[in-house]
């Protein structure tokens, strides 16, 4: 009975937490209750159907049907969450204003509630189908029916209880901040789900793991403990993550942030960016001309790399001349796909003295095998900590695109930089 309760609890918990966060995030939306029920009901119906078809799904797509279904469900949820975030960013201010003024229910469009129903439905679907199979299995093995029922009810109640506690906790957040807080929660939730999906795709042998166990914090906080599982669902905590999961997590996080900013724009910085996009599209189209495709001169097979870089200016204007910067970098190729390095920047100022400017940590992930596709794709992540405390720490992410056509190597890097604290401006540029 206890065993049944524990398993039911685990399966229910994930769905319960996702539903709680979504409920808090859609606070004040008219008719959301109806959409949650629609999501719940269709999720449960789908779960039973999925369980009935388990055999056939398993054998589909070269025996990896189950992973594909799981990954698809998870990634669909990520897309819906992203949609919700984009939509909320537009309407959050208006919503919280109205809630304050009118009290509770407010009308605010029909689109987000649909996303709400889909997200709820998907959360129930994935966990529910496992539950149905498990309970069916126990029932079939002839263990006492009352034991089964009782255990399931305890598990269900415990899972729902934690969800309710989280919801009530989120309700205590002042109304003008609730959308910001739930927005961050949903962002982390989406990144965590994407990382889970990546895990399934590795299991199906579709993508490389980029290292099976990047760190092991299971002694510190086991993912199987209640707190560990709570953090796993809400923040995406993994005690023994694969390289690709960390990469997916970070990429999803930045991807969604970038998207919500691009869609809701407003910042004038993006306008020149759009012009460059057009140029970039033309540029990439030109490259579509079939040619030998061995992209990327970055081979991360060297285990250790030392790099010294510098530049110096010469200008008629003495004030601008003779300035320079040196970079000393030590790097290490952890896997074929992951290269990490630490570097220091030394700047020569106008006064002629050399000054240690900043320390940075750089990571390059090679996402596609060299020459396999017509363009090589990589991800670059940099964290810079300036020595001068007046400046802010900076995070920079680049999407590296590289293509060899004839004797030329074309590179297109999409840069996404953000200063931590301070002005909080996010810059987006193309290089």
């Amino acid at each position: 009975m206890l065993g049944t309760a524990v398993i039911v609890f685990r399966e229910v918990l994930e769905a319960a937490l996702i539903i709680s966060i979504m409920l808090a995030a859609t606070r004040g939306m008219l008719g959301r209750g109806r959409w949650v029920w629609i999501g719940l009901a269709s999720g449960l119906g789908g779960a039973v159907l999925l369980a009935l078809l388990a055999d056939r799904i398993n054998n589909a797509i070269a025996g990896t049907g189950q992973e594909m279904i799981n990954a698809t469900i998870l990634l669909t949820a990520v897309v819906m969450l992203t949609w919700h975030l984009v939509w909320m960013r537009k309407h959050a201010a208006q919503l919280s204003q109205q809630i304050r003024r009118v009290g509770a229910a407010v009308m605010a469009g029909e689109q987000a509630p649909t996303a709400l129903a889909v997200i709820v439905g998907l959360a129930v679907l994935r966990e529910g189908s496992e539950l149905v199979l498990f309970l069916h299995g126990i029932a079939a093995s002839g263990s006492g029916a009352s034991n089964l029922l009782f255990g399931s009810l305890i598990g269900l109640a415990a899972g729902v209880l934690i969800g309710v506690v989280l919801y009530l906790g989120l309700l205590r957040i002042p109304i003008h901040q609730v959308f910001r807080v739930t927005g961050w929660l949903i962002l982390l939730l989406a990144a965590g789900l994407a990382a889970q999906a990546a895990g399934y795709l590795v299991q199906a042998n579709l993508i490389p793991s980029l290292g099976e166990r990047i760190w092991d914090s299971s002694q510190l906080l086991s993912q199987q403990s209640v707190l560990g599982q709570f953090l796993h669902i809400t923040l995406g905590y993994l005690d023994r993550p694969m390289g690709i999961q960390i990469l997916t997590y970070v990429a999803t996080l930045f991807g969604i942030l970038l998207l919500t900013r691009l869609v809701n724009g407003g910042e004038s910085r993006l306008t020149p960016g759009k012009a460059v996009t057009a140029v970039l599209v033309v540029y990439l189209t030109l490259l579509l001309v079939p040619s030998e495709s061995h992209a990327s001169h970055k081979v991360y097979s060297p285990k250790v790399e030392l790099e010294v870089c510098g530049h110096r200016t010469f200008d008629n204007d003495a004030a601008k001349s003779d300035q320079g910067k040196f970079k000393v970098e030590v790097g290490y190729g952890v896997t074929e796909y992951w290269f990490t390095s630490v570097f220091g920047e030394i700047e020569k100022s106008e006064s002629g003295s050399h000054k240690y400017e900043a320390t940075a940590w750089e990571n390059i992930f090679q996402l596609t095998e060299q020459g396999k596709y017509w363009v090589g794709v990589g991800l670059y992540l940099e964290y810079e900590h300036p020595r001068n405390s007046a400046s802010n720490d900076k995070v920079e992410a680049k999407l590296l695109l590289e293509k060899t056509a004839g004797k030329f190597i074309h590179t297109a890097n999409l840069v996404f930089a953000r200063e931590i604290a301070g002005s909080n401006a996010t810059e987006f540029e193309y290089a």
């Binding site: 299995g137 199987q224 097979s301 030392l306 010294v308 200008d315 008629n316």
Partner: protein, 114 residues
């Protein structure tokens, strides 16, 4: 950009040490594990270091089971009288436990990599 310098001299010295990379793409070795009466057979599997292995789990029981491993981050439902394929590795030397989530009392096993 206000202060555009006329000339920028850029010099980079890159020294790469130890550029040894061996990478082979052979077919994965296959290991079969069966489930009978909610127990794994063999319950202990030895796998080679740094190799991707195809695990085939066959369920001879009529009830479904979930093949799961926290150590390996794998979970997959094995239908009653059905079989599944799970890829594991490349793994570092060590012991990796796996279990049947639906029958944890009896369905326990481990993979030893050496």
């Amino acid at each position: 950009m206000t202060n555009t310098p006329i000339t920028v001299l850029r010099a980079c010295v890159v020294a790469s040490l130890l550029s040894l990379a061996s990478f082979s793409m052979a077919a994965e070795p296959e290991v079969i594990i069966t489930i009978k009466d909610h127990k794994f057979d063999p319950a202990e599997v030895t796998l080679p270091v740094n190799t991707k292995v195809k695990l085939v789990v066959k369920n001879l029981d009529p009830t479904p089971e979930e093949f799961e491993s926290h150590d390996l981050h794998r979970e997959k439902i094995v239908p009653g009288n059905g079989q599944i394929t799970v890829y594991v590795g490349p793994l570092q030397p060590g012991t990796y436990k796996f279990f049947g989530e639906f029958n944890q009392a009896t369905a326990q096993g481990k993979i030893i990599v050496k």
